[in-house]
């Protein structure tokens, strides 16, 4: 076997291991309800797309193609966070750690889980989440920062983590609301929230798709045919722009179904 193939196999095993743990945890308290099945399916979707984004050939292609990089970003901004919010894997995974001493578990919860939950609630006001989501998207597409992330793996990881984090906060009011007064509990609020998100993302995509200027000079160091870099940038912009309606409309429809399923308890 060649080294890259070993890499992929090891990475894939790493990516799906949470799935195996989670599935095992759920099997122990097997709930046949639609809700449980939906959560399991969502977790599977999240893991597979995470593997696709980080460990598949898409990841290598994203280093040399802006368009491929945008496909990767779409996974971090839409598919993975929505799937994770529906799956809510933290509970079953933590339950699996019952074999650990109680004091350790309580300490870990105080250190990690509760602060994370409180921070999310604090930042989770829809308006704040939208602003953060927009800022993260636009800042990381600024040519200078984008170039830095392209050259430095650590910064690249921070970029993807921040995108995933801001996306989790953005989609949370729709898919994992806290039951508070800031919930998007009416069609009007959902519509405003989603059209705002779609518009800013589409606007960025449109700029990149319609521009005659090459914004990301990092790709110019790659061997390319004349005009290929600009064409690649335009394609990436078009991917962002044209996929926005699909994702936001699907989210609108899915969030209503998900809310109804949660309320009925499956």
């Amino acid at each position: 076997m060649t080294t890259p193939l070993l890499w992929y196999l090891a990475a894939f095993a790493l990516a799906i291991s949470p799935l195996l743990i989670w599935a095992r945890a759920n099997a122990a308290t097997a709930q046949r309800s639609d809700l449980a099945l939906a959560r399991r399916a969502a977790f599977l979707v999240a893991c597979l797309n995470l593997a696709l984004a980080l460990f598949s050939p898409l990841s290598s292609l994203a280093d040399v193609s802006f368009a491929a990089h945008m496909v990767e970003h779409e996974l971090f901004l839409f598919v993975i966070p929505i799937a994770l919010l529906i799956a809510r894997p933290a509970g079953p995974l933590v339950r699996r750690l019952r074999w650990l001493p109680g004091s350790f578990r309580r300490g870990a919860a105080r250190l990690f889980y509760r602060p994370a939950k409180q921070t999310a609630a604090f930042l989770g006001h829809p308006a704040g989440a939208f602003v953060l989501f927009t800022l993260v998207l636009w800042i990381w597409h600024a040519p200078q920062l984008y170039g830095l992330a392209l050259d430095n793996e650590a910064i690249h990881a921070v970029e993807h983590l921040s995108m995933l984090g801001s996306a989790l906060l953005y989609w949370r009011p729709l898919f994992a609301p806290g039951g508070g007064r800031h919930d998007l509990d009416t069609g009007a609020k959902c519509a405003l929230y989603l059209t705002s998100g779609a518009f800013q993302g589409g606007f960025l995509g449109a700029i990149l798709a319609l521009s005659n200027h090459v914004f990301y000079s990092g790709y110019l160091t790659q061997p390319h045919a004349p005009g290929a870099i600009l064409a690649d940038q335009r394609l990436g912009g078009a991917i962002m722009w044209f996929s926005a309606p699909i994702f936001y409309t699907a989210a609108m429809s899915l969030s209503v179904t998900w809310t109804a399923l949660r309320r009925s308890g499956g």
């Binding site: 069609g187 009007a188 059209t195 779609a198 589409g202 078009a238 926005a244 309606p245 609108m252």
Partner: protein, 486 residues
């Protein structure tokens, strides 16, 4: 059934969105008039991008606003899906973003009745991405409209107990002697007809779009130009007429509110709408009178169908509307003024259209400014007048707001401004000034310059009314009528 307050908010959102789009597109219209009048110079390439956005945007604005009115009119009478309506709203809004960026940033200036080699061979004026964006935006608009139509149709059919009852077919074919259960109200009938025709129109549009996408992808090289032109004209004719009939549905619900007189479903009304259901597909040939290759039969059929299709409008909307007004003791509120202006504009624009639909007259007026004169009357003083009447009444009723003398003066000024503008178009058309010309010759510019004054009057009137409605909008949204929560 009780009115659902969330559906009322959905209706308000649609109407307000349509109104804001209308204002934006109106500014583009003013820019075009200023350019043609010689008061301002716009690059011709930019002019056509502005014209493309203005045309598509105005239809989208009128349709969105009229659909909002229909949502509120059907609210409490027919079961409507809030989820479907809000999903359609999101898609509709996003589609407008595509149209906006494709024209403003992408520079697509191909208009909307485009034929090969447009839009794919623009001689470097815009990119393929921009073209695909405008087509994708149109596709999304079609999907949104399909969702609206299915929602309305499902609602009216459920309320009536079947599609035959929703169209009052037994009542129609028995000459008004028999009916199955309660007859649908006129506005429910309008909603059913518009929905059925809307669904069919969307599929016509999607078929055309599919061919354009295939052409853009290089899968097909070209299509028969005459066939494509017929399909475009059929689709365009249908979508504009459907926006008109949607507004008619809103009008038929509004008139009883203003006059205190119920509009009972009668045999002429049922006949008119069921007739429109079929005949609306036939007159599109009047857009092709000057295409020598078009089969003469289609042109002649198109002419007579165009003339025949004015009969239902005349009976139901104009004569029926005027009968509602006559000796009703109606007070001249802003909505009443808009409705009166609308009935006048519809008559006037209809006569202009009637004339243009006659082949010998079309020889003179085809592709002149007579045509924009006709459809601007229909829209500004027709579809939009009825819709703004409904919007104004809805906002003030829900907020407990009051109109003032200045509001009424603004409403009349809207009428004068719009009338002056369309009269100048018609005058230019009578003088054979061509439409869709970015630059006008000096000898054409006098009516253009006069029309600028009227457009500015229209803009000032709209500014006042917009300010007034914005003042009351918060309370209208919350439904704080007379200090009570809705």
């Amino acid at each position: 059934m009780q009115k659902d307050p969330e559906l009322t908010k959905a209706a308000l959102a649609h109407i307000i969105t349509g109104f804001v789009m209308f204002l934006g597109m109106g500014l583009l219209g003013l820019a075009m008039r200023l350019d043609q009048a010689g008061f301002w110079s716009i690059d011709p390439v930019a002019f056509y991008a502005i014209m493309t956005l203005h045309g598509i945007g105005m239809i989208a604005a009128a349709l969105t606003a009229a659909l909002g009115g229909l949502i509120e009119v059907l609210n409490g009478e027919a079961p409507l899906s809030e989820r479907a309506i809000w999903t359609a709203y999101v898609i509709n809004f996003i589609s407008f973003g595509f149209l906006l960026f494709a024209t403003v940033a992408g520079g697509v200036g191909a208009g909307w009745t485009l034929l090969y080699p447009l839009p794919f061979h623009p001689v470097g004026e815009w990119t393929l991405t921009a073209v695909l964006a405008i087509y994708f935006g149109s596709f999304l608009l079609a999907v949104a409209y399909l969702i609206y139509c299915i929602s309305f149709l499902t609602g009216t059919v459920r309320a009536a107990g079947g599609i035959a009852n929703a169209l009052a077919l037994r009542y129609l074919f028995s000459g008004g002697r028999r009916s199955a259960g309660n007859l649908p109200t006129p506005h429910q009938l309008a909603a059913t007809v518009v929905s059925i025709d809307g669904i069919l129109t969307v599929f016509i549009g999607l078929a055309w779009l599919a061919s354009q996408f295939l052409q853009g992808a290089g899968v097909i090289k070209s299509m028969d130009a005459l066939l494509v032109k017929n399909v475009i004209m059929l689709f365009g004719h249908m979508i504009t007429n459907l926006s008109i009939y949607t507004a008619l549905g809103v009008l038929l619900a509004l008139l009883p509110m203003l006059t205190g007189r119920e509009i009972r479903t009668s045999w002429p009304i049922v006949f008119a709408f069921d007739f429109v259901l079929i005949v609306l597909f036939i007159p599109f040939g009047h857009h092709l009178y000057q295409d020598f290759a078009e089969p003469k039969t289609l042109l002649v059929v198109g002419q007579f169908a165009s003339l025949a299709s004015t009969v239902p409008v005349l009976l139901v909307a104009i004569l029926g509307g005027m009968a509602q007004f006559y000796r009703s003791g109606i007070t001249w509120s802003v909505p009443a003024i808009f409705v009166a202006l609308g009935l006048w504009g519809w008559t006037f624009g209809g006569i202009a259209g009637f004339m243009d639909a006659v082949i010998p007259i079309n020889q003179v007026t085809h592709n002149t400014l007579w045509v924009p004169g006709h459809f601007h009357s229909y829209y500004l003083l027709g579809v939009l007048a009825f819709t703004w009447a409904f919007m104004y009444r809805l906002i003030l009723d829900r907020s407990g707001g009051r109109e003032t003398l200045v509001s009424k003066a603004a409403a009349w000024s809207y009428g004068v401004g719009a009338a002056g503008m369309v009269l100048m178009f018609l005058l230019s058309g009578a003088l054979s000034v061509p439409r869709r010309f970015a630059k006008h010759l000096p000898e054409w510019q006098l009516p253009d310059r006069i029309s600028v004054g009227f457009v500015i009057l229209l803009a000032v009137a709209l500014l006042w009314l917009t300010g007034e409605m914005m003042f009351w909008l918060g309370r209208a949204w919350r439904g704080q009528e007379k200090g009570k929560q809705a």
